[in-house]
Structure formats: C-alpha cells, structure tokens
Subunit: 332 residues, 4 copies
C-alpha cells in the first residue's frame, strides 16, 4: 500500500475548492500523512493578536491539497477515512472576528449596530491529560476541556466549474465544520471532476455543535487519511459513517433547509440500505434521528442527521467500505 | 407533602395555553400524578385510521390542566420536575398529517404540489423489554426501538393575555417537542399570570430529534410531577436541568433564530452562574455547546442548547432546585 | 343603510384579536365612522419621549372594536371596505423601540450586541399640502413627504379559540402593516367565530414597504368603513381588492414563507376567477406579479402579492363586491 | 467614443463569473452593442421542449463576456449603463424546471414529494404592439402582456478567486433577476479583479417581481451598454440608479437577510449623499422605502430597496454618473 507524506510550505497552501492544481497524484488505497495549518495561518498566537489586524481579508482556512485520485471521474464516490488526528502544536486559538459569528451582525444578517469587538483566546494543550485550557479574558475563570480533534474542511472540487472559498460549504463538502469529522470517520463525497481534487484543513482541537462564535479551538493538525474510490454511486451531499452512526450532511440557509437536505439524504440512504418505502423511512427516521448542528456561522449553515446503526439491521453502507477502512487503519 | 391525582374526563381536556380555568389549585411542593391523553385524543388506534378522517380541524395535543399554583405571580419561576413518565397504553401511534411535517408542503412552506399522503403506524409496546415495535407499512421490515418517554407539551399561560394553541410554542413553553423533557428533568418556566396556570400533555413514547414527520410515537402517559415555585428570577425562555446538563430552549422561525434564542439564553445563564463576562461565555459556549434540534415542524421550531455540567465548576442553577427535586422524587 | 359612529374611551381600547367582548353588533351594509388611537396610545408626543420609558410592556396597537357582524359564521367572508382615512391629529410619531425593528437585534434574531438606542421623531402634518415633515434628529436635514394614510391592523378573532396580540399577524389578519390597506381598498377576511369580531387600529400617516425600523408615522385616524358579509367562500388568508389590483397577503417567518403563502393564494384566486389550470396560473403569475413587502419586523412578517387587473380579463372577485363597495362609498 | 459590437458564437458563451478569459479589452467610455443568448441556449422553442430533456445539467444563463475594462482595479466602481434592450427574436419562452422554482421542492427546500412536472410555454412577441402573448397550456385562456425587457444577469468576477455559476448572485452581481435592470438603468458594481471582467446575459422579455416559477419570459436580446469606470468608491453590493430611483440590491437566504443587506446599503447611501446620521437615515428609509422582490428562486434570493429621488434633495449618486450616462445614451 502506498503512503504519501506531505507538509505544505506556506506557498503551497490553497484557499479554494477547485481552481488549484493538484499537489500530487495518488492511487486509491493510499495512506496520506498530512500536516494542516490552522485557520489563521498561524498568525494569531497571543491573546493580543486580533484577526482584523493580522489576517488578510478572507484569508481563512488554508488547505492542504488538492490531491488528484487516479481513476476518479464525475459520478464516482471518493472515500476518505480519517485514521488519525493529533494536534501539531501545543496551543490552539479561538477568536471573535468582526462581523462573523452566530450571535452578532454579519455581512448578511446585516444590522445597523456595531458588530461585537474582536477578541482572541489562546488555549494551551496538555497532551498527556488530553485537555485544552480555556482561560477567561476577563477575570480568573479557567477550565480544562477534553481534546476532541476534528477537521473543519474536507472537500472536493465543485461541479459546474465553480471555485468556492474554503469558507463555503456545499454538495462538494468544504467548510462543513462538523464535530463528526473526527478520527474513525469515513467520509463519502461525490466526485465532480477528474481526479476529484480533494483537500483538507481547518483542524479544530475542539468545537461545540453550532460553532457559535464562528471559530473553534483552531490548531495545526497531523492528519492520517486512507483514501479510496468507489466507482459510481456518488452521494448528492457528503455522508459520513463511523462505528456507531450513519450520518448525512446538508448545507444551506436558512437552517431548516440545511436540515431538510440532510434528512432527505438519510431517507434515501435508509431506503437504499433496507429496501424501505420512502414514507416508511421518513416515519422511522422521525423516531430515531439525532440532529446535532454543525455550524450556524459559515456561508452556508450545516446540519448533521445521524442514525444509530445499532437500532437497525446490519446493512453496511457502500459495500462495507467503512469496515474495510477501519481494518486498514488498524494496521497503520 | 401534598399529592394530587387527576385523570381528566374527555370534557376536561383543554386545547390552549391560557384561556382556560384551572382544574385545581396546588401548593408549591405538591406531587402530581396525572394521566395525559395522546395527541390524537386516542382516535387513531389502527393503521387504517387517518387523521384527516378522524380528527377535528386543529384538535391536536389535548392538555391535562391547567393547574393554579398558589402564590405564583408574574416574574416568578415555576419549577416542574418530571419524576416519572410511563406509558398508559400498550400501543402508541404515529402518523403523517396532510400538510404537516418537515419534509412536505405545509400551510406556510406552501407549494403547489400535493402534500404527502396521510398514513398511520401503530407501535406495540413491550413493557418488559422496554421497547416499541416499528412495522413498515410496505414490506416486511420491523425493528424494536427502545422506549424513551417524554412530554411534548409543557407550558404556562402566555403573557399579554394571549391564548395559544397547544400546537404552538414560545416563551411560555407549550408544544416544545424536545426529547429533553423526560423523567429526571427539571423544567423552569417564567410565570406570566397569577397562579401560572400550567398544563402538560402530548406524551411521546419515543421521538427523534427534529420530529421529522411532525408526529412522534404518540401515547397516553402516566405522569408524575413535583411542582415548586421560586419567587422572581423568571427565565425569559424555558430552561431545563437534569443530572448531566443545563439546557436552554428557543422557539422561533427560521430555525437559526430558535438557535440564537437558546444560545443567548445559555450565554446569560453561564454568565450568571460563573460570573463570566458575556464574551467569555460566548467563547466557552462555542467550544462546549451541544445543540440537538427539538422540532422543525411546529408553529415555531424549537432548538435546545445543552452544556455538560461536568465540564464546569459546580454551580447549581436556581439555588440547587434540581438537586432538591431529585431528592424529593427519590422518596416518592 | 345603517351608520354607526364610535370613538373609544381609553378603557374601551382592546389589545388582542379574540378574547374581547364586542363593542357593538352591526348589520351587514353598515357604515362605520371610527376613531382609532395611535400605536403608542398617544403617549409619545415629543422627541424626548422614549417608548421604553412611557409604554407599558407590549402595550402597542390599541384596537377600536371588536364589532360583531350579525349573521357572520365560521367559513363566511367578512368584507371591509375602507371608504376613508384621515389623520385625526396634526402630528404623527415614529420611534425606535429597543429590541424591535428590521435592522437591529430582536427577541428572536437575538445577538449579544446592545440593541440600537431608542429615539423618537415627531412629524408635523400639513393637511392642506397633504404632507408630513421629517426632521432629522441630528443636523438640519428636513423633507416634506406626501401623506399616505393606511391602517396597520385589520383583523378578526382567530380560529381555534386563540387570542393573539395586536402585534401579531396571521390568517386572521391582525398586524399586517401593509401600505395596501388604504382608502379605496376592500379587504376580505375569513370568519372564524360567530359575529367575526373584527377590529381595526394602528393608523399610519405614511409607511415604507417593509416598515424597516418597526414603526411607521403613527397617528390617530378617522376611519370610514363599509361592512358587508358574503356567506361562505372564506379565503384562507386575507385578501384585498382595489380599483387596480387583486392582492393576497401572507404572514410567516422566514420571509420567503410569507411570500409563498401569498403566492399560492394568488394562484388559487387566479385559477378560480379565470378557470386556469394551477400550473398555468403559476406561469402567468411569474410574469405579472408585484410583490411589495409589507413588514419585516412584526411577530410574523407579511408580504403582498399584487396582480394588475388591467392585464387580465374582467372577472371581479367575490361577485363584484369591491365595485359595489365603491359605489356605496361614493354616496357617503 | 469607442464602440464595440459583439455576437458570441456558441463556443464563446461562458457559464460563470470569474474563471473565464476576457473576450475583449475596453476603454472606459466604450459603447457596447451585444447580443445575448437566452437562458436555455435557444434549445427550448416549442411547448413540447422540456428542460430536463434538452438542457445539460446546470447549463443555464450563458453569458456574453467577460469584458476587461482597462484601468479597473479592485476597489474601483464599474459603471454599466443599459442604454437599450430589444428582443432579438420574435418569441420568448418560459418553463418549469424540475426541482427549481419558488412554489415547488428544490435541492435545498428539499421534501419527499415529487417536484412539480416540467412544462414549457412559448410566448409570441408582437414588436409593433410591444406585447408578448401568454397562452395557457390547458384551455383557451390567452392574454397579451406588455413587453418589459430586462437583463437577468449582470456581474463581475467575484472576490477571493472564487468562480460562481451564472445561476448564483452575490456581492459581485450575477443572477440578480431584478426587473430594475432595464433600459435607462445605471448599475454600479464593485471591482474585485484587474479589468473587472464583467459579463451580461439572461435577457427577459418580461418578469414578475419574485420570478415565482424560476424562469421569466426568456429571450435572446440586443443589448446596448455604455461602460464607465469610477476610481475607488466600490459599493459593497450592486446598486442601480435610474431617473426616478436610487436602488440597492441584496442577495442572500433567508429572504429577510437579502432585504437586510439591501436596506443597510441604502442607509449607507442615504447617509453618504445627505450627510445623515445613520439612525436618521434608518428612520427616513422606514417611511419611503419601496421593496419589490427580485427573485425568490435562485441560489441566493435578491431584494431591491428603492428610494424615490423626487422625495429627497437633489444629490446625484457617484458624482452624477447616471445623468452623464443618460446624456451619452441619448446621443447614440
């Protein structure tokens, strides 16, 4: 099995899905060992560092990639298994960005108030305790929170020759910002262009559901991926499978439309796996669905619909791809 | 300690929050043992029973109550601890109601398509196994799902002399349809009128997050409540506390506004409990929030924001009311 | 023809649709000459008067009424023709209410910013020039704007025994805040309770489409109405007809749902009047619809869909009720 | 003054904003005489032609352009005056596209119903009468509607190296689908890349506000544009000026956010032109705003905020650019 290691230089970082030449060509089955820069390109490393002063307009979420998967054609299914995620620095950072976030005015939920002020919090990582430390900016309050690494952005080149910012999400994946994108997850993405041209980035050492203020505990990440390809069967929107759950993702505004997308995708998936009539699948989903918000802050909001596999007969998705990925990952 | 048992006759059921005379007056500290009718007044008990044929327009969610709590005045906090919820029948029922539900046209997400057809599923309860059985309408598929009893509606009389249907939710509670309203939960509601005039109903034997098709596994319920009153301190929107979580609820459309309401309420609650600056609370919440959808189908959608108490210093809400309620419930 | 004149005393004002006893019983065909108080009960009459200091919580939009229309039963159509609207004072007032308005944080579009500050603008009426004068609070800017009187609230008692605040809108009408509700308009409302129990209020000397800041140029109004009743044929949502347009109103959040409601209502109306297939009506509407926003600030937002009658064959709505009303009004 | 005429060959059509090489370089002041293909590339010309059968996935709205404007740099203001729009064919076409439109299920307002069926309507143009003829698909109904030519798409290359489909709208313009984009309108667009790289297309012989079914009366168009450049002063979102109105456009979902964007832009514009405090501008706008919907169907919905210039002191926008353009156009 092939293995490819890659640490991008600053000049090799990319900022879009689509519109960028591949860093490398990979065969399906390749194990990737990648390093991803944090969402702020490492420029915010003190509490006094404010994004408005240090980040060039729109330059968030640098990507590691894109990678060309040999044989991938439009309509195929790219399989990305996250075998490992470990912090690549001993600190993470979160911040309020002016005009960005769920509880402030933004470029689109535009009001006449001043936006909330910018502020930065540095979190120290304790790798032994597997915690990060939140220290209040005002007062003495501090708590240690469990490390829970995840990737904010995972995506392929969009369809229709579009090029999307690494702040946007959609059917191509992108800035999904869901805590479900963690080690042990297998992500299925529809391929839109030859080679798929996927990239990853925006590591989070921890993120709440919804990503309220717009930024998680952002941090550089060491990422181990196993890449595979299924011919055909492209899902209309990104899907994830882990040992416990089938997960569908929808990205849209308003938030109910993101939810609707993820729900219809799950009705379809349940119908396919279990031969269910769609109204039966709708009924069953109504009683077993779990629906954590991913983010309510990005260009398009993202919602996850999760179904516990233990409640259903054993019908693995995508021909058992997740189980196969887990076995490969276990041998790494 | 007072105990009050009540099984409403059909004529005693009510259909609104506000606008109804109290069934009884209770002293704070009273234990209530109630019976609640199902959302369809028990009229749907075969798969061939369709709501459009058997339910009078808008007659959903009959309430048990309202109850007048002595001493409760506007601005006070009503405390309702759910000590027990057990199915009062050996079957539950879910259904598609024409023009209602998250993945069909509705009266407000109005389209020119025909709505999805009506369909009814009867679920058999196995009280020993603590399961309910889903049987597909088309084909042979069947699965047993764990019982997970909850109350869909818990509310008080609204402010401003309004009378709201038991299908609506708001700052007064009402048709919240959140799985968090289960045994072990302590619900805090702001009082708007003398006596609070709370009622409960709409028992669910199980419900997924979002209540996708608009109806859970609806069933008559035996409900044990412990009622208490805190003078003043009325929360602007309903809150719940259980052994593991602080929970705030927001109800609105679009769904992001329901989320915003619940999030701002949690920022306020965290600030109060821990003396946090609001921007620090916003930052902390961004990393620890859990946000299961309650429902995306009712008059106003409802979202829950949950914070794990274990991640925070021990500062019980409402002067330790939940712990006190748990002790009382343990002695019942 | 009967005529009824009524100037409510402060104690006779009401604040809800539903839940209030009728002021009087009227026969269909009655001409009403009413006085309506302004949205702030006349309490804001200097630029230094702020709503937060002078208005009791939620006490906006006092209503003149309700009136019981003899013979009106659920399913009937109440016809209200606005024969005349003239300012009853020589000043009007607009204001920023804290936490209310389209471009600030509100109770539901909740953010962590401070809401915009309160501010009040008194407008002088020049009855001869038929203008009102806007004077900027800061600086010397002033302009005279044409008087354009309208009623913000027109509604009946809601269905399902609900009682709604005079700040809310819905299928019962209510706080629609559309500039289309002006002299010359005939409003059709579905009747939900015996007698219909309609009321009016919230006169605006002028309002932009959308009512951006939440308040128009509010003013006491002399209102001349002609009341009629059509048995049956209740529209699902309020409709208006004037000499030039057929108009349907929809109230909901998000705003696209308010639009969808008004559009589906117009598809239905066009289909009924012209015998059109619904998809043909949808196509035709797509090319001739005018859609001014009514308000994007109230409990539910309201959108108007308008169709120019001149573009269509002459098929008067509701059996020519509008033309009949115009003839009656011309003789007053 | 330079004049440039251009009729694209099919191979010269483009389908995105950004990502395409310039057709030609123009100096500011150039008059452009262009031909634009219709939204369906001319492939639908009989009532039996359905888009699902004849249009390749996503291949809507072919663009004429892009054009490189010499000297245009990021932060500048591109001025496009529409001097003339005349139908280039004697027929137009509208259609229902499966899963697209305001009153059906879509890819994002996803439901489990079948979408509305596809259907096509050919409209005959009567150039002398200046009408187009709607003929119902079912039954005998037909009406002549006034020609009202406009351009659906006008835009520049987006910022951040994005490439957007000609179905999307945003701060770069694009698929705005507003009837305000008609002859006599001067459009101001912020420049994001050297040369601006603007293109136009998607001519409509007539469109209702909202573009309900998703398609207007689409038709090939002869377009006369006068192009100019203002250094600096880039508006954040597209603006239009005509003889009667100042107009700001906002594009977003939900629809209230599109409205908020356009409103804040107009508050800013009024403040700039008249030296108004922003809260005074908000107040004034609340009483004079007109807000026709542009479309409620595209990737992002678009709303126009219009202010009648006659109500305000004479302060021409952009240094009188519109008046200057009108004078140039009058001499063509």
């Amino acid at each position: 099995m092939d293995t490819f290691e890659f640490v991008p230089s600053p000049a090799q970082l990319s900022w879009t899905f689509g519109g960028v030449k591949a860093i490398s060509r990979l065969r399906p089955g390749t194990t990737l060992r990648l390093w991803t820069e944090d969402a702020f390109s490492g420029l915010l490393h003190k509490n006094s560092h404010l994004p408005g002063e240090r980040i060039r307009h729109g330059r968030f979420n640098p990507q590691t990639g894109p990678f060309h998967v040999e044989g991938a054609e439009p309509g195929d299914t790219l399989v990305l298994h996250i075998a490992g995620l470990t912090p690549a620095r001993d600190w993470g950072v979160s911040t309020l960005v002016a005009g960005f976030g769920g509880l402030t005015s933004t470029d689109r939920t535009a009001t006449l108030q001043d936006p909330l002020p910018e502020r930065t919090w540095i979190y120290q990582v304790d790798p032994k305790a597997e915690t990060i430390r939140f220290e209040a900016a005002a007062g003495e309050f501090a708590v240690d929170l469990p490390l829970a690494p995840m990737l904010g952005t995972v995506g392929v080149a969009p369809q229709g020759a579009e090029v999307r910012s690494s702040l946007a999400a959609g059917a191509h994946g992108g800035n999904l910002d869901t805590p479900e994108m963690r080690a042990g997850a297998t992500c299925y993405l529809g391929v839109n262009v030859d080679g798929a041209l996927f990239s990853v980035g925006d590591g989070h050492y921890r993120q709440g559901e919804g990503e309220s203020c717009g930024t998680a505990v952002e941090g550089a990440m060491n990422v181990t991926l196993v890449v595979d390809l299924i011919k055909g069967a492209a899902p209309a929107w990104p899907r994830i499978e882990n040992d416990e759950y089938l997960i569908t993702l929808g990205s849209a505004r308003p938030l109910e439309d993101a939810w609707r997308v993820s729900q219809v995708q799950m009705v379809n998936w349940l119908s396919e796996l279990h031969g269910l009539d769609r109204l039966d699948a709708y009924q069953l989903l109504s009683q077993i669905s779990r629906t954590p918000l991913a983010n309510v802050v990005d260009t398009d909001y993202t919602v996850a619909t999760k179904v516990p596999k233990a409640l259903l007969p054993d019908r693995p998705g995508y021909g058992g791809a997740h189980r196969r990925m887990r076995e490969i990952a276990a041998r790494l």
